[in-house]
Symmetry: C2
Subunit: 215 residues, 2 copies
Amino acid sequence: MRNSTRFKDRIPEVTIPRLSLYYRAVLESRKVDFISSEEIAGLTNLSAAQVRKDLTYFGQFGTPGKGYGVGSLKQKILEILGTNREWNIALIGVGNLGSALLAYHGFRKQGFKITCAFDNDLRKIGKTLEGVEVKDISELKDVVRAQDIQMAIVAVPKDATQAVVNLIVETGINAVLNFAPIRPQVPDNVEILNIDLSIELERLAYFLTKNLSDS
Amino acid sequence: MRNSTRFKDRIPEVTIPRLSLYYRAVLESRKVDFISSEEIAGLTNLSAAQVRKDLTYFGQFGTPGKGYGVGSLKQKILEILGTNREWNIALIGVGNLGSALLAYHGFRKQGFKITCAFDNDLRKIGKTLEGVEVKDISELKDVVRAQDIQMAIVAVPKDATQAVVNLIVETGINAVLNFAPIRPQVPDNVEILNIDLSIELERLAYFLTKNLSDS
DNA sequence: AACTGTGAAATTATTCACAGCT
DNA sequence: AGCTGTGAATAATTTCACAGTT
C-alpha cells in the first residue's frame, strides 16, 4: 500500500528527530491524561506551532480544547518512528568505540538490539563481549540473513569504512550509522547517517573563535 | 574588535560543518595548486554554488579562471574554524564511551587534546588512562583553570548530565559536547552540541518503516 | 576559456494568527 | 475557554544564472 492514507505527501527531514524529542517530553512530563503543544514546546525548547505542525503531518490526533491524549500520542509516535518493534543491528568494528556501543544497554531498552558483532582482527574474533560473539567480517552476509538484521553500526578505522559499507550494502541492509570521519557513498535506497565527532569539535572551535574575535 | 572586516553579518549555522567537509575535500583531492568549487562539490556531494557561497561569507579568496589556491584555502578554513591552534578539553565521565573517546587519538592530531578526565566513581579516580589521570569531579574547576581548558565532553549517565553541565558552566567553559540523550539547559553564551545516538537510530527506524509501508 | 562572486529566484522551513472544534 | 489544525506570511537556505576577473 502507498502511504496515502497515513501520511501527507512530503514530510520535512528535520521533523523526524523532533518526534523523538516530543516522545521523550511526553514521558518526562509525567502527564497521564492530556498534554498540550505548549507543554511539549516548553520541555523541548521548540515552539508550540512547530509541535502542532510536525504532528499534523501524520494525521490529526489532538483534541481541541484539551491537547493530545498522552497514551495515544505516545503510541502514535512509536508507530510513526517504527520504535514499537525491535530492530536487530550488526556492529562492525569492535575497537574502543564499538565495544562501548555494545556495552551500552540503553539502546536495548528502546528496542535496538546489537545481536552480532564483526571485526577483522584475529585477536578479537571468537571472543564474546556483552554476550555477543565477535565474528569474522566474512561471515556478515550469512549472519545478517540468519538473524534478520536490518541496521548496521560502523565503527571501523576511516580507511576501512567505505569497503565495510560496501559489504553491508551487499547484504541488503539499507540503514547504516557511521562513526568514521568520512561520508561513504551508498546507493539511493540506503540511508546512512554520519556521526562525525571531529566536525562537532570543529563547530565548537568555530563558536569559541568567533566569540574571541567579537569581544 | 567587531568582526566587521573579516566576516559578513550573518553566517548560516549549517555553513560551519560544511567548511570542515571542504577542508577534508581539499586534502583528499591531493591537489597542490588550485582547486575549483566544482571539484570540491564533487568530493562532498554538495553543489558548486553552495561551496562558493559558503566561502564568500568569509571573504573573497578565489581566483577567477583558476579556482581556490590550495594552500591559502586550507589556511583560511583553519583560521575560520579556529583549528589552526590547540584546544584543551576536559572529559567528564570515564565509562565505556568516555574511555573510548579518550583512547581515540584522531582528535589529538587535529589539535583537540583531552588533557584531563573526571568521574565520581571511586574505583576510577586515581587511575591513569591513556596518560591522563582520572580525577574527582570536585577538582574540575581548579584543573580547568590550571590547564586552560576551553571545551568539555560529557559522557555521563543521563540522570547526572544536567548537574555535570551546570558544574562545567560554572567553571567558565562555554563549549560542550554532550552524549547523553537529553538536552541540557545552558545559558545563552554557552554552546552545547548534543550527540544523540538514540535519535539517530530512531531516524533509521523511521526510514525503514516508511519504506516498508510504501512498498 | 575558465572560473569566482553574487544578486535574484526558487525552494524549504518556521512562525503567525485565527477559524473551528470540544 | 482552551486548545488544535492549518492556510498565509515570514524567514532561512539553496540554486540559478550571469557579469566580471584572471
